[in-house]
Amino acid sequence: MQDIFYFLCRGICHQIPERSFIIGHQYLPLCARCTGIYIGVFISFLYLLLRKRWYGNRPPSFGLLCILLFSFFPLIWDGITSYLNIRQTNNTIRIITGVLSGSTWPIFILLIKNYNIYTNNTKPLIKNIFEYIHIISLGCIFSFIIINGYFLSWNILSILLTGSIYLLYVQLFIGILKQIFYQLENQQMKKVYVLAHMMALNWMIMLSFVQKWIIDFL
C-alpha cells in the first residue's frame, strides 16, 4: 500500500530522504519543497471550492497577476542559490517557498477550464489580494503542523498529497479537452471527464516509469 504512494510520487519528486519530513517514523513520499507546493495546491483548491469560486472565469487584474507570478521567484531563487552552494537552506524555508508558489496553480488551471470565449466572463476567481493572503496563511499553518508532526498520520498525509497532484492533472486535462471538444453536449461531456481521469492516472504512472528508466540509463 505504501509502495503505491512512493511509486506515484517518484515521477514528480526526487525523494531524497535528507530533504523529506518524517511522520510516524517514515519519510513522506515527497521532498520538503514538493510537499509545500502540493499543500499549497490542496489549500487553494479547497478555498476556491468553499468560497464558491469553482466555476469562476474572470481573469485577475494586472496588479494581482503580477503579485501571483512574483510569488514564484522565492522558490526559484532558493533553488538556484542552494544548488550553486551560495547559501544553505533548510526544510522550513523549502516548504514555505513551496506553499507560496503552489497556491497560485489552481487559479490559473481553473481559469483555463472555465474561460469561455463567446460570453462575457463575469464570475471572479480571485477578487483581491486579501483572499490570496488567506490562502497563504492557511498553507503556512498547515505546513507548521507538518514540520512539528502534530496529529497527522502518514497515510492521511500521503493520500492528501497524491490526491492533490492527481486533482491538478485532472483539472488541467479537462481544460485542454474542453478546448478540443467544445461542440459536445452535456451528455457526451461525461465521457470527456472519464477520459481526463484516465489520462491523468496514465500520465503519473508514465512519468514514474520514465524517471526509473532515466536513472537506470545513467
Binding site: G11, P59, L65, F108, I112, I176, L207
Partner: protein
Amino acid sequence: MRFCRNCGKLLEDNQSYCSFCGKMVDTEKEVEIISSEDNSLTSFQKETSQPYKSMITHHIVPPLNNWIKVLLSIMVPVIPGLGALIGIIVGILFMTKEDKDRKTFGKALLTISIIFILLFCSCAFIFYFAMQEMITEYHFY
C-alpha cells in the same frame, strides 16, 4: 436580435435551433449585447423610450499581428521557465480583451505556458540527477 449562445452566430427571430451548430436556443433568455457606449447616451436618446440596449455597434479592432503570435508561442518552449511566466502574463492580458482573436490566442498561450512550466518543474530534478552523476563520474570539481 438574438445570438446563439454556443457559436455566437446571428439567429432569426423564430428559430428554436441554431442553424450553424444545431444547439437549442433558449427562447426566454435573450442574449443582449450591451455596447460600451451605453454610458455616454445623449439626452435625446435618454428621452426616447426606444430600447437602446439591443443596438449593436461593431468595434473594428484589427486582428493580432501574426509575427507577434509566432514570437510569443516560440518564446514559451525556448526560454525555460521565464518564457512560460511571461506567457502566462501575456495570455491573461489578452484574455481580458473583447476581441475574439485575442481571446482565443490568449487562452491557447496560457494553456501551453502552463503545460511547459509543469514539464519544466518535473524535468528539473531529472537534470539534477544527471548533473550529480556526471560530477561523480568525471570529477569536474
